[in-house]
């Protein structure tokens, strides 16, 4: 792989192995960079260090047991991953989800989006080189959301709270005031980040104009989520194929035109504000009622058929393709991971940039390795 470039002095490019154990690869991602001094000439990504065969395992278990694997597939936005899965099962089994369950699902999913984006803010702050401050700010606010989820579901990360048909059990009685508390904390967190990073001169100098990807290229690579919206493509599954109650409330799709790292950061920041708005509206519409359908079979069976359901997870389109041949377990389950598609564009965005930029570009597409490898 070491190539010689024609110049006055004979030089050799250096192969630099980044990962799977590296502070900036966000898990066990590995890439081999061919660097000419500080400039990246070639990037070869390697994935698969976190492959656990979750899709195959789901085929050996019934539909309710599969929920746990969805949590572990996308552990930073487990609610969103669960939602895609249970919606696929519901559509196949033709279950009607009660109103209240839908509103609660929407609140939880948006809160999980907030937690996930906060996690991005913190990790990205470390990537650009602030020593810990944004990370712990983000952690503090995320903790509020996680605490709420723990009160509801009993677990901090692997909730397994959504069920085909509705929810596992109803939320606690103090749910609405607790959500409002969390929103106050998160709003403060967003303001903190605005103060700490958004206007910081060095932050702007590091992120503006770095890792640019055009709208056409982003579509070609099949990107989704904030990464494509930052390039000016208003692609949001919540708007394209509305699910839950997204049509009934008032919210905007956030887009930016620049397509660089800074735009992706701002996109996520504005999306957090938008999520706060969505949750507030949901809280107003939340009514008492049932959380599971009345005629729920003891053993959930689906008729033969296949279905693809997609939802907007924090990192983009999280799709579940489900094939059933009857019975109580899927014949085939395939997860369409947003991170995997977004990661394809990494090479395109980093070749020709500096080593330091390559790592913040990787940070800006916000990958979760367990979702990439599954």
């Amino acid at each position: 792989m070491v190539t010689e470039s024609a110049s006055e002095f004979e030089t050799q490019d250096l192969l630099l192995n980044v990962g799977p154990q590296h502070p900036s690869t966000h898990g066990v991602f590995r890439m081999v960079m061919q660097v000419d001094g500080e400039v990246v000439r070639e990037v070869i990504p390697y994935i698969g260090y976190l492959h656990r065969g979750a899709e195959k395992l789901c085929e050996t278990m019934d539909y309710r047991q599969g929920i746990g694997f969805m949590d572990r597939t996308e552990y930073l936005a487990a609610m969103n991953a669960e939602l895609s899965y249970v919606m696929a099962v519901e559509t196949l089994a033709e279950l009607e989800v009660p109103e209240r369950a839908q509103w609660i699902r929407m609140i939880l999913v948006e809160l999980n989006r907030l937690a996930s984006h906060l996690m991005f803010m913190g990790a990205f702050g470390v990537d650009v080189g602030v020593f810990g401050t944004p990370f712990i700010y983000a952690w503090r606010e995320r903790e509020a959301v996680i605490d709420l989820f723990e009160e509801i579901s009993g677990d901090r990360m692997m909730y397994a709270y959504l069920r085909p048909g509705g929810l596992a059990w109803d939320v606690p009685t103090n749910f609405v005031p607790r959500v409002r508390e969390v929103l106050t904390a998160v709003r403060q967190g967003i303001a903190d980040f605005d103060g700490l990073l958004t206007k910081n001169e060095i932050f702007i100098a590091r992120t503006k104009g770095v890792g640019v990807i055009s709208a056409a290229d982003a579509i070609d690579f099949g990107m989704s989520g904030p990464s494509i919206r930052a390039s000016g493509v208003p692609l949001d599954v919540r708007r394209e194929e509305p699910y839950l109650k997204y049509n009934d409330i008032n919210w905007n799709v956030i887009t930016r035109t620049e397509g660089d790292v800074y735009a992706r950061y701002l996109c996520r920041l504005d999306e957090m504000r938008e999520s706060v708005k969505i949750v507030e509206q949901c809280l107003e519409r939340l009514q008492p009622g049932a959380i599971m359908p009345e005629k729920m079979p003891r053993m959930l069976r689906t008729p033969p058929g296949e279905i693809y359901v997609r939802t907007e997870a924090p990192r983009g389109e999280f799709g579940v393709y489900l094939v059933s041949k009857g019975g109580n377990r899927p014949h085939r389950l395939k997860v369409r991971s947003a991170c995997l598609s977004n990661l394809q564009a990494l090479r395109h965005m980093t070749i020709g940039s500096y080593v330091a930029d390559a790592l913040i570009v990787l940070g800006s597409i916000d990958i979760v390795l367990s979702e990439v490898d599954r």
Binding site: L14, L15, L16, N17, H22, P23, S24, V35, E38, G125, V126, D127, V128, G129, V130, F131, G132, T133, I136, Y137, R140, L196, L197, N200, E201, I202, F203, I204, A205, R206, K208, G209, V210, V212, S214, A216, D217, I219, D220, F221, D260, R347, H348, M349, I351, G352, S353, Y354, V355, A356, D357, L359
Partner: protein, 373 residues
Amino acid sequence: MPEGLFGLNPWLDGLIRLLMIVGLMTITAMGLIYIERKVLGRFHARVGPQRTGPFGLLQSLADALKLIGKEDLRPRNADPWTFEFGPYMVFVPIFLGFVVQPFMAGFSVRVLDLGIMYFVAVSSLSIIGWVMAGWGSDNRYAMIGGMRAAAQAISYELPFVLSLLSVSMLTGTLNINEIVLSQWQVPNIVWQPLAFLIFFIAALAELNRPPFDIPIGESEVVGGPFVEYSGIRWSMFFLGEYASLFIMSVLISALFLGGYEWPFGTQLGIGFQFLLTVVKAAMIIFLIIWVRASVPRLRIDQLMGYAWKILLPLSLLQVLVNGFVLVYDLPRIVLTIAGIGGVILLVSLTERAIRLPRVTHQSSLVTQSEAAS
């Protein structure tokens, strides 16, 4: 002081001075590690060390004991000589810089007439240790880090020295103690605000502190030259880093903030003078830690561009203005006005440099949409 500091024979005197340097600097560096951890903790909305001793005061001691107990590993392919001497090459020059530090009137380890020159010569030596560590480790991260350190040191040495020069032009001496004594009425920062700012920025770069911690960038080169070191050798780098932080802060307070002299004069006694120096240095150290907690890291090309295109011309300008004022015997207020103008220029140039449209790196890959068009 040819007859010796404590009136003893010169050999014993020399030994005592050496022990003074090593003992004092080690304790200071350990104290600074504790302070940095505690202050950074507060910036991070957490409490910092608190379990070891009262208020976690013994944390540095515990760390030191742990590091001494660790195995001193050397990678098999590492160059034994450069690898093992690297830490000493970083450590020794920093401690040598301590010799000319003015803590009290006539009471530094040695009062040298060419004090500033000595300090510049000695302190820039430690970069050799960084490059040795980077090269000798046989690790690509370490090598990139070592090369970055060398490039950074060469770039920032010039504005660093030029802003020192402008101070010594004003006072007409290279002796740090005389510079301190000359500030008995007004500290130099009033006459040389631009030189102070440039010196502060260059000192951050010399110390490899954020936003200039590119050689050790944790999220890029994973600790740079230090990546292969462990145990006592690693702790030498660490100790050296904090010792130089202390030395640089004392130097800034002596050159620009009036050291032990301003505002109370020398008649208050040695203990009070020492306290004044330490308080001023502590303010600078707090400022440096504050910067660390709030700014991201620069990129290597931005760092070099900033030194060569903005800091160097401005520090040359400062030397030129000083020359004019001294040759034509203009009132000193001209220096203040020019200095404030210079600071405004520096800030606006930095602003402009950020707002400039950046050259985006064109990818050499051809995507489908490009191929279709």
